[in-house]
Subunit: 343 residues, 4 copies
């Protein structure tokens, strides 16, 4: 049994993590922290957990957290970096679902997140938790930086092309769409049902924090530096990310379908669809699967990769549990055998 | 291992049944039938099952079905009654999720369902599969008539009052609301997204088939015959039933809260909320739980019972699996430890 | 031309009022006030008005407002009563869309709205702006208290029965359902898309502020005091109210259909549907129409009235403009010839 | 007064056309045809028109239609071309909202629409009804081919760039998203609320009929032939199209913002947003406006144009009325002064 703590579980990645962990056969949830909800039953905030979790939120006390084997951070950025050094020093493993340890360059991080990084020395030690890329590093890691939701989808989509030098790395376009849960559970006018339903729009057109994270990850897989045009959109639904990725092909004679099928043949959580199909977000809602399709429009030199994932699962909490399973040498899919509820 | 077959699994109760059964530790799905989709991979119709079920739809051949221990019918009404007698004769157990065996009076059934009943002799033998009422009969049954979605919610809400003679049985009003999945997966203009979303209406105002089923069930629990005003409404969402039930109290001095908590204290799938709370459909989405609250408005002689369930789970497929567990002396919640995905 | 001002137009009733007023041929919008958005272009908050309104929000200065012929208040409760006495004294007419002047009994008002009423002397002078009841009083009024959204629907539904002594006034039940815009534009967790979509629930089960307003209105039309059980629900859609009203019939031989058709035959904004039809909220979305149907379930002594309206139009801004038209002896439907956008 | 007939008004473009025409001051609707609904009141299918249109559907009799000044076709493809030659011969003007006369090359049309064209001789005579491009031709036209919904958005977005030779015409990508009403009112499983809500996907990945129409239109504005990668997506909402358009800039020193503002400065139904804003579909819902924004991501050689329109208005019925206004020398915005209902 792994004794885990969850810091900051009043948001959507937090409750999603709890939903998965309460049924995980090798996990015992020791504590769930929240400053604002201290003393409140977790299930009174998240009634889907009424029969499954009897804990109360407690304050995030480092000494108490140090009694855990593993601590998940499901906090806004800036919180994890304040607690992680002490926990690591006490031998606790950490999986951070926030952005604090995703970007290796502290200055770049500060530019996008608007604050100083308080433990830049940990940035190199932190392992970027994309199992399909870094599985062996994750296995030995003490600190895993769990990827962002968009970065997971976009990297899994582009990497087979870049790794095989099939596309011009300067030609990348990612037109990405997310359900509203990506904006979190904080009260705000823009994500009210009355503002966000029956509406569709691009947002973040002056720059989005996930762009440098994606570029960092793609550059590691590409011979030449990538140039990425990244355009996020808000979809009037709760969950799901769909990405339509475009790139200019360098070679014309590649069997892209076989390439993708082979590339991901050993991956349990990447599903390459048969030619002609298009991944739908609802088929991965609540599951840890990332579905992909690849296609080349007739008469065009462009390749199009279509990707669907649940932003809160493969894009957050599910991938965090996948990383935990790897860190503890468990079956990578333990506790993640989740079937989407359809319809 | 119970070898099961599912007849007519191209609808929403069918896919929901499969979602639950693929993870049930004591079930092996032997065959899934559909005349219209014969030869088609089940997962090509329901891509949420891609990693979980590798079967193809086959035709509903009684001889093949007879190799199963148990057959579920997730068919439109009129189909099960054509196959069930032969299956029972061959020693196969049957759980019918359609309406064919729910009403004991064949004439009444014919009136509401517009066809002759072809095996009225089985109507008395069939056990109405509401575990909270008929658990011991279900345990010994060969043929279980799985309750309708509205009838499950309305009966679980009214029964504690009627059984304790606390309300005037002539005063019952059930204002019930259902998500659109209650109308099934058949193509129809009325349930298109463009017609059913951003809209709310009452429907079936000239009579609804679930009314006689509910009245039959309530009469069994009531000293005097009930009179029920039943008004269904369509909610612009996929899943969920909410029922607001009204009745005139005969006694004024009852602690309704304790009464309900005691009445359902041993039931795993009925959850009585603390006073002042209201059950939300999303907290039971995808789970087999039925949540209830009871309240008496200030200055009124009325009691109000609020009920929420997932129409496709406790109102259909989940309750069917609960019944199967009872029939096979398994833990009643085996395979039903489902946590709602929230948000 | 009527020179109007709108106080507090950053909410949903405010923008709805502006949507109607910008096309009203006899209205000139002079000023739109908001403390929080002073200096901001109205159309930058509400881009649907970009081509239609070139004003900027200004602070609510009574001297400036006094230059208007008519001031609408689309403010939270407690705001209008602070400004109205001064405006009335200066000869300005007022239509208050908030609750400040709806309830005649100042103590009752204070009980439900949690503050002292600062000008109780105006409560008797204020005319309750339900044109179908108070048209002649509205014509001469200086201060109109525009009805709440639920009260409009419930009163229009019950009044024909009560006025004709057809039902037991002690038996009234109103099961009402509202789209989320009824909760306003203020940021709050409970009305986020991720919390309120794909969900249905009753709310306000411990009492709702619209109940005393409805009871006051119904008592004026009833021989005996009414007893009303009032249960509001939240529908996962933006706009629309549907009410299902129940009462015990005293006489059995009434032609309810003709009664309702006759009762509302001269009303332009009440539409009685043919027998067997059910009013849908989408058919009145954006329009000032209130649609009704009346039915008596077979074998029951209950009458059921079904009502649909747009909570922001007939339930707020549209009715306010209807009242303005009456006050200024204009055609009552001027500027209100609005066709619902369907689908 | 223009006497108009509407052929095939049981679909969404049909009812939208009627919604606009019933309030148009210079139009008298003479007949509304439907084979399947002959004899049925139009308002019984579309209850939003109850107070506004008292016609019954009649059969599409060419002799009767010939009594109209102008006939709109809101039919599936293949219907208009069977009736139009006769109507034109009798001096009736025609605006065809279907695809029958949009593509100049009859063979190309047949390839995409799967049938022979029965009056290819009219293809050259037909004027493509995009007023921003063809206003003068429309003014003199007898037969207007009203553009498709996607083609309107994509052409209005790309044309300023192509006409000014600012981008590589071989580099065009249109990532377009449509609400479900684009799929029409026909019963189909894929557009049921339960299938299409809470879901997002690309579709038509093997080719979409709007692509050749767009390419034809763009080629007319471009020095060199364009190569367009066109990827449509389905958005879980009723109305609205958003297009994110990408192209490689040839020059780096252009003020794109001014270019777009100048290009459309005289257009009443194209609104160029201030720099940094993103057009939202809800702000044009029910209105004839097309909103645009143009931006160049930092460090990229790509220009991104964001476009929003209502697929049923500027993308269909509204543009048809705009064309009618032009053909009859009316104010181009007569009857089109529509304010979006927000929220």
């Amino acid at each position: 049994m792994i004794n885990v703590g969850v810091v900051g579980a009043t948001g959507y990645t937090g409750v999603e993590l709890l939903r998965i962990l309460v049924l995980h056969p090798e996990v015992s949830i020791q504590m769930v922290t929240s400053r604002s909800e201290e003393g409140v039953a977790v299930s009174s905030i998240f009634p889907n957990l009424r029969e499954h979790l009897q804990l109360y939120f407690c304050a995030p006390d480092p000494d108490l957290l140090a009694e855990c084997d593993l601590v998940f951070f499901a906090t806004p950025h800036g919180t994890a970096m304040a607690l992680v050094p002490e926990l690591l020093a006490k031998g606790v493993k950490v999986i951070d679902l926030s952005a604090d340890f995703r970007i290796k360059d502290a200055k770049l991080w500060s530019h996008w997140y608007g604050m100083e990084h308080t433990c830049p020395e940990l940035l190199q030690e932190a392992v970027y938790g994309l199992p399909e890329v870094n599985r062996e590093l994750i296995r030995k890691a003490s600190l895993v930086a769990n990827p962002g939701c968009y970065p997971t989808a976009v990297q899994l989509g582009f990497i087979p092309l870049l790794k095989n030098n099939l596309v011009d790395p300067g030609s990348l376009i990612a037109d990405v769409k997310s359900g509203v849960s990506g904006a979190g559970r904080k009260a705000s006018t823009g994500t009210l049902l009355c503002e966000a339903s029956e509406n569709f729009k691009a947002y973040g057109i002056n720059g989005h924090r996930h762009q440098p994270e994606i570029v960092q990850g793609l550059n590691e897989q590409s011979k030449d530096l990538v140039n990425l045009t990244f355009m996020p959109h808000l979809v009037p639904m709760i969950r799901g990310i769909q990405a339509s990725l475009y790139a200019s092909l360098l070679k014309d004679t590649v069997d892209l379908q076989s390439l993708y099928e082979d590339f991901y043949s050993d991956e349990k959580f990447v599903d390459v669809l048969e030619a002609g199909l298009s991944p739908e977000t609802r088929t991965v809602r609540g599951s840890n699967m990332c579905r992909l399709a690849v296609t080349q429009p007739e008469g065009s030199d462009k390749v199009v990769v279509l990707v669907a994932e649940d932003n809160l699962v493969k894009g957050a909490a599910g991938q965090a549990v996948q990383n935990m399973n790897i860190m503890y040498d468990l079956d990578e899919s333990l506790g993640l055998n989740l079937v989407s509820v359809l319809p």
